[in-house]
């Protein structure tokens, strides 16, 4: 798999890992699909994360342990991804902190670099 896809998945999983202090307690009981599109790489990244944040924030409040990108259209900046997880339950999952929003503040995607660094600041 393309390294940039793996890294994008990691960004989404890193966000979910902030919502509980023990992500290993999240069972992969359901799969949810999100779709996101942008006008450039940064807005695609913004919307990709925002869709997952929305998935967590409304009924049925899904927290994902694993995120998989199933389609990635680099030309038109479109992503289709699956999140594997379950309903967030405070009696089962130790509460982490709340992500309020995704921000563009100093957002960086270094596709040219070897490590393919991605920086996103989320508001918590």
């Amino acid at each position: 798999m393309d390294q940039s896809l793996i890294d994008l998945q990691q960004v989404a999983m890193a966000m979910f890992s902030y919502m509980t202090t023990d992500i290993s307690r999240v069972e992969m009981r359901r799969v949810h699909t999100i779709e996101a599109e942008g006008e450039d790489m940064l807005s695609l990244l913004f919307h990709f994360l925002d869709e997952f944040l929305f998935l967590f924030s409304v009924e049925p409040f899904i927290i994902c342990r694993v995120v998989k990108i199933v389609e990635f259209d680099k030309e038109n900046f479109r992503i289709k991804a699956e999140g594997y997880g379950e309903t967030f339950d405070i009696s089962k999952h130790p509460q982490g902190t709340e992500v309020k929003a995704i921000t563009y503040s100093n957002m960086q995607v270094h596709q040219e670099s070897e490590q393919n660094d991605i920086f996103v600041i989320i508001d918590i």
Binding site: M19, S57, Y104, S105
Partner: protein, 504 residues
């Protein structure tokens, strides 16, 4: 990219408590930037800048000074972009940043970044007629009782029954909704900014995504730096003003509530940011930072945002009213009394993330401005027509929440603040360490032990993250309010210290 020493050439100290950021520090600055600091706070500000120069902008946060300057580059800004003493790196605007825009200038903008994601996040202070010695023996039970009553932390759900129709009405009515439903007292309204209701609210401008996020969360405290605290009066600096607030003696017990508009506000801000990015291309507005997305005040996007923001502000007041109701119930239960007999009145309720249309004097002329306060608090002076009758002679009470385990303050607004900072002062301690750094440097068990040592009861939903909120992670709130006091932009009135903390 410039070196630290090159950056320093744009900065000059203009008074013992104020620095000026000259035009040229970032591109397109229309006015200069200013920030208020004392020696200790100054060091933190310059460290932030140094760090960013050293990393050559690779990852990390933008320093607060750069953000103040980026705001100074927004179209239609009036006079200056101001950083208050608690200023630190935020998103787009710095946190602790103030900027006013001229409503009569068709190019002037409104920016959701200048309000923040947590629209109308604010602080409310309730008084009681109890003495610390009445509460001490029951402190643990009282903390537990509050924790049981108030839903806290990520993923918690509100216990106040709400339907979609209720939510629409709450967004339109603010505290009036809480009053009608029996959650608030009529007197509460008097002691809120805007009387707890922004009349410009239009719930139809709030997306269904935002309403979906907001519905299950009404009456929840949230996480991060939000809290409910039982505090006692530690010191009274201004007896006359304190008396007007019903603060009579050291040791008097108060309750402070810090929360905002929850997911509803976060989504209103996100929606506006996305809509404005498109409008900016159309209207050819250029900004230095993508997070500073903005729209002309009178454009469709600008107006829709202001109406949605006002609805989210109303939600926040309903939220603080709901938590006030829960706190009053908890106290009544523990002391086998009624909230009325415990004199649990709202001293005041401030908004520290909001944009408001206000009248100010600019170069001797009265102007209508859209004042953005991001992590800063309105602090109107005595005799201002927009502050309640009870505070006409003292100036508006300003509530400054400290951090977990540190003291909090009540200040009052001043004439100097009115003319220097558009009637605005600080809002809290302001972060000194990033959350990641706090986690690396501090251990949560030590943080909890330190609180216990100080005799502070704590109930927290995510104990493993308390180091992020530890006093060491923040600037010293006393430095912050002392700087505001010394600079004259607000005046110290009462100091409070916590005896129990409930947080997410």
């Amino acid at each position: 990219m410039r070196s630290y020493n090159e950056e320093m050439k744009f900065l000059e100290k203009v008074t013992p408590y104020c620095w000026k950021i000259n035009k040229g520090f970032v591109d397109n600055m229309k006015v200069d930037g200013y920030f208020y600091v004392n020696d200790r706070l100054e060091k933190l500000m310059f460290d932030e800048l140094k760090q960013s120069c050293n990393s050559k902008g690779f990852g990390g946060f933008l320093p607060g000074m750069k953000q103040i300057a980026n705001v100074a580059a927004l179209p239609g800004i009036v006079e200056k972009s101001v950083g208050l003493p608690d200023v630190h790196s935020g998103y787009g605007f710095a946190i602790g940043n103030l900027a006013a825009f001229d409503m009569s200038n068709p190019k002037a903008v409104v920016s959701p970044g200048g309000v923040g994601f947590d629209i109308n996040c604010g602080v409310r202070l309730l008084r009681t007629n109890l003495h610390e010695r009445d509460v001490q023996p029951l402190k643990e039970q009282l903390a537990q009782c509050l924790f049981d009553h108030i839903p806290v932390g990520v993923g918690s759900k509100g216990i106040i029954p709400m339907t979609a129709q209720n939510l629409e009405e709450a967004l339109e009515m603010g505290v009036d909704w809480s009053l009608r439903e029996g959650y608030a007292w009529a007197e509460d309204k008097e002691h809120c900014e805007e009387y707890g209701r922004m009349l410009t609210a239009d719930p139809s401008k709030v997306s269904s995504r935002a309403k979906k996020r907001g519905l299950p969360q009404l009456g929840t405290l949230g996480a991060g730096n939000h809290y409910a605290e039982i505090q006692v009066v530690d010191e009274i600096f201004d007896e006359y003003a304190a008396k007007k607030m019903g603060v009579e003696f050291p040791g008097q017990v108060c309750v402070m509530i810090h929360c905002g508009s929850r997911g509803l506000g976060h989504q209103v801000a996100t929606d506006a940011l996305v809509a404005m990015e498109k409008a900016m291309k159309r209207d050819k507005i250029e900004v230095n930072d993508r997070q500073l997305a903005c729209a002309h005040i009178n454009s469709v996007e600008g107006q829709e945002y202001l109406k949605g923001m006002a609805s989210a502000a109303n939600y926040a007041w309903v939220n603080r009213s709901s938590m006030t109701f829960l706190a009053r119930q908890a106290f009544a239960k523990m002391f086998k009394s009624t909230p009325d007999d415990l004199d649990m009145h709202v001293i005041y309720d401030v908004s520290h993330n909001i944009a408001k249309v206000e009248e100010h004097f600019v170069d001797g002329k009265q102007k209508t401005l859209l004042v953005h306060r991001k992590g800063s608090t309105r602090a109107f002076p005595p005799h201002h027509p927009l502050i309640p009758v009870d505070y006409q002679l003292t100036g508006q009470p300003v509530l400054i929440g400290g951090t977990m385990g540190t003291c909090s303050y009540v200040l009052t607004g001043t004439e100097v603040g009115m003319s220097e900072t558009f009637g605005t002062t600080c809002h809290g301690a302001g972060r000194a360490l990033s959350r990641a750094k706090s986690r690396r440097k501090l251990d949560y068990t030590n943080v909890l032990a330190a609180l216990e040592e100080k005799g502070i009861s704590i109930r927290v939903a995510s104990p493993k993250l308390v180091m992020e909120e530890a006093p060491e992670s923040y600037k010293n709130v006393t430095d912050v309010v002392d700087t505001c006091h010394a600079a004259g932009i607000s005046k110290k009135c009462v100091k409070l210290r916590p005896i129990a903390v409930i947080k997410g």
